[in-house]
């Protein structure tokens, strides 16, 4: 044994160590991501109910059913709408926040951590907190001061409920995206901004023509993150609205705020595992296509320093 190790070159030794250290991660990754992923693909073309041993192949039946089911189409569309609203809200708000905390404002470090704190609250807890605020506190204020539009909860209006969810999500997520923007802004050489200032460019011009182009790569990341997290939104959806209230779509009552992930969850808990799996595959493909397009479009706009 000892002789063997003496013969080894340092390079070889290194690679063994690498493998030993990597193996647990690779193994876990294969076991809990790769294998279940392919199992999932397989189950989406069967009639599996989650328990039964006799699994029959049904081809694309599960997928064909989705095309004609109003609740799934609605969930799909509402998820896209929610994602678009979120991308706009979160990026604008966090960009403004990042400008504020990188300016010469006093206590900017305090604000920086303050804006970030909501991100540290779990989505479940946060959903319940905001549910209480929206259902109880705002309604109480509305009835006490006779403000008509506050008297019914924003969560019980089918038309505003996803906007409300987007606002809550922005409140949570903006601080995190802000940190990415702050890092990008700090990476821009201050000489550029100063030179523009000397040349007489206004603050607005400096932001639009120097700051934003120079931090385009940060936008690529932040839009990608907001897009994928909004598309996969579940925890806050579950606790804040639980999918409610109901609304009418394609002449069928559906849940107005049931995003795709929650639709999949509700299908799965009704012991319709194969159908839920088919929905999950659709979600995966949609997310893959949309995010690939987004990243390649954004990449083109980035400038090299």
């Amino acid at each position: 044994m000892q002789e063997l190790s003496r013969e080894r070159t340092p390079m070889k030794k290194n690679s063994t160590v690498n493998i030993v250290f990597l193996a647990p991660c690779v193994l876990t990754f294969i076991m809990i991501i790769i294998i279940p992923f392919f199992f999932g693909l397989y189950y989406s073309v069967t009639d599996w109910n989650g328990v039964s041993d006799d699994v029959a192949f049904v081809g694309l039946k599960n997928f064909r059913g989705l095309v004609s089911s109003p609740d799934f189409i609605y969930s799909f569309l509402i998820t896209i709408a929610y994602t678009l609203i979120n991308i706009v809200f979160i990026n604008i708000v966090s960009f403004i926040l990042s400008l504020i905390v990188t300016s010469k404002i006093r206590r900017r470090n305090f604000y920086r951590s303050g804006f970030f704190v909501p991100y540290l609250i779990g989505g479940i807890v946060l959903g319940y907190i905001w549910q209480f605020i929206l259902n109880n506190i705002l309604v109480k204020i509305g009835t006490t001061y006779s403000i008509a539009f506050l008297q019914t909860s924003f969560l019980s209006k089918p038309n505003t409920v996803i906007w409300t969810m987007a606002v809550v999500n922005t409140w949570q997520y903006a601080g995190y995206i802000m940190l990415i923007f702050v890092a990008a802004i700090q990476g821009i050489p201050s000489s550029l901004m100063e030179a523009a200032n000397v040349d007489g460019a206004s603050y607005f011009h400096r932001v639009m023509h120097i700051l934003i182009p120079m931090m385009a790569n940060a936008f690529t990341i932040s839009i990608f993150l907001t897009l994928t997290t909004s598309f996969k939104q579940f925890d806050m959806n579950m606790t804040l609205t639980n999918g409610g209230p109901a609304t009418r779509f394609m002449d069928a009552p559906v849940k107005a705020s049931q995003l795709l992930a929650m639709n999949i969850f509700n299908t799965a808990t009704a012991n319709r595992m194969a159908e839920a799996q088919a929905k999950a595959v659709v979600l995966f493909i949609a997310l893959l296509i949309v995010s690939l397009i987004q990243v390649s479009v954004n990449k083109k706009k980035e400038v090299e320093m």
Binding site: L27, N135, V139, S153, N242, T247, N266, T269, N271
Partner: protein, 425 residues
């Protein structure tokens, strides 16, 4: 290089697998005495059943009963599936109806030879064979606050038709301020509050079983074929509309379980649409006023019965080597004094066994037990519906009707369409 990596991966995989089999085998052989694993979903009886299992284990040499509890909104079905996949299927588990039976039938033992079968009407049966031990009797009507009704001059014994209810609700509505209530009824129907089951499961069950013989499933069989009884459903829809119209609107459209029960407990409503499971909640909220149950009388003709059912059943894992010990544990629960004491006094349940003479403490449970003794009650059959029908299909329909209470025809049309799709689910 690549070969080496592959080897490493292969060897570590084998090591993990080998370790798994060695340890897995070890635990099984090491256990000398039988351990019965029970997995149940009633969080409110956790302490009681843990205590009873411990006492049973101490009194029965060679048998240890271990109880694991998961419920209260947690995904019991999902957890049970995970256990089955992991090869840790419990010896005693819970099903909630036909949907659960269909999924787990490979695991469910025939309990027809058990001594308690003759002692109950509510065993879970498929094609005449007994497969489930009824956990308890639960039931509901429209709970009322007797003090408020007395003040308003309403006799609860006369609430046996829809017309009588309409009259009572009108009286209460007119004297709201004087009686100190915000609305006559505390009813919940919202998807958002997670309360779809009150309306789309329990209230709808009055249509499936109300006014019929206790075991008459003709109406729900018809629905499973895709048809509604139009005349009967119209009467039901009118009753539901009445409940919605006179309900506290904030609770109806958005309230949670706590909001709904809390309003009644604080005397802010005269009626509460909930079952006897709220007894512990009412006790916790310090309720002292007398409470009783009025029937859900939705028909034009008189209805006097309450709705009684076993919400869940214990099943014995047929594939387990401990099946006999598990059956003995259930039989002891149904037939011994200790078992009765656990079910009634410790867990606060109404046992589904006729030989039990103890009385539960809760007012609503007592009302149900009295109704059960009197007879003439109605069955609750929503457990026969396909999985997910209540939550994903009927839930949004009832929520939408609660939002647009005047649109009775739309509600009936939506339900007709949904029921027509039931055979395809």
């Amino acid at each position: 290089m690549r070969k080496k990596l592959l080897n490493m991966v292969a060897i570590s995989l084998m090591l993990v697998l080998a370790a798994g089999t060695v340890f897995g085998a070890g635990t099984k052989e090491a256990a000398k005495e039988t351990t019965v694993n029970m997995f149940q979903l009633k969080v409110e009886i956790k302490d009681a059943i843990d205590g009873y299992a411990a006492a049973y284990s101490a009194a029965t040499p060679g048998v240890t009963v271990k109880v694991e509890t998961l419920g209260g909104g947690a995904d019991y079905g999902g957890a049970l599936k995970a256990k089955a996949q992991a090869g840790q299927m419990p010896d005693i588990f819970v099903i909630e109806g036909r949907g659960g039976y269909d999924i787990w039938k490979d695991y469910i033992a025939d309990l027809g030879d058990q001594s308690w079968v003759a002692d109950t009407d509510l065993a879970f049966k498929v094609d005449g064979k007994v497969y489930g031990f009824p956990v308890a009797i639960e039931g509901y009507g429209l709970a009322y606050n007797a003090d408020i009704l007395a003040k308003a001059g309403i006799d609860p014994a006369k609430l046996t038709t829809r017309a009588a209810y309409e009259q009572a609700f009108k009286t209460l509505e007119a004297r709201k301020a004087e009686l100190g209530i915000t609305a006559p009824v505390s009813m919940a129907a919202s998807v958002a509050g997670g309360m779809w089951w009150v309306a789309a499961q329990h209230n709808l069950a009055t249509y499936w079983g109300g006014g019929l013989d206790f075991n008459d499933t003709s109406i729900i069989e018809m629905a499973l074929q895709g048809k509604l009884d139009d005349a009967r459903f119209l009467q039901y829809a009118k009753y539901l509309q009445l409940l919605f119209k006179y309900a506290d609107q904030k609770i109806l459209l958005n309230g949670s379980y706590d909001d709904q029960v809390g309003a009644f407990a604080q005397g802010k409503t005269a009626f509460l649409h909930q079952g006897n499971w709220v007894d512990p909640n009412l006790k916790q909220l310090g309720v002292t006023f007398p409470i009783g149950y009025a029937p859900h009388a939705f028909l034009d003709t008189e209805q006097k019965g309450l709705y009684l059912f076993a919400p869940s059943w214990y099943c014995v894992n047929a594939k387990s080597p401990n099946a006999e010990a598990a059956k003995a544990f259930l039989a002891a629960m149904a037939s011994t004094a200790e078992g009765h004491d656990y079910m009634v006094n410790k867990a606060g349940m109404i046992p589904a066994f006729k030989s039990v003479t103890l009385k539960p403490a809760g007012q609503l449970s007592q009302a149900l037990m009295a109704a059960n003794a009197k007879g003439g009650n109605y069955g609750v059959f929503f457990g026969m519906l396909p999985d997910g029908a209540g939550q994903n299909v009927f839930g949004p329909i009832f929520d939408l009707f609660a939002q647009n209470q005047n649109n009775l025809n739309q509600f009936i049309a939506d339900m007709k369409k949904a029921v027509a799709d039931l055979p395809k689910m």
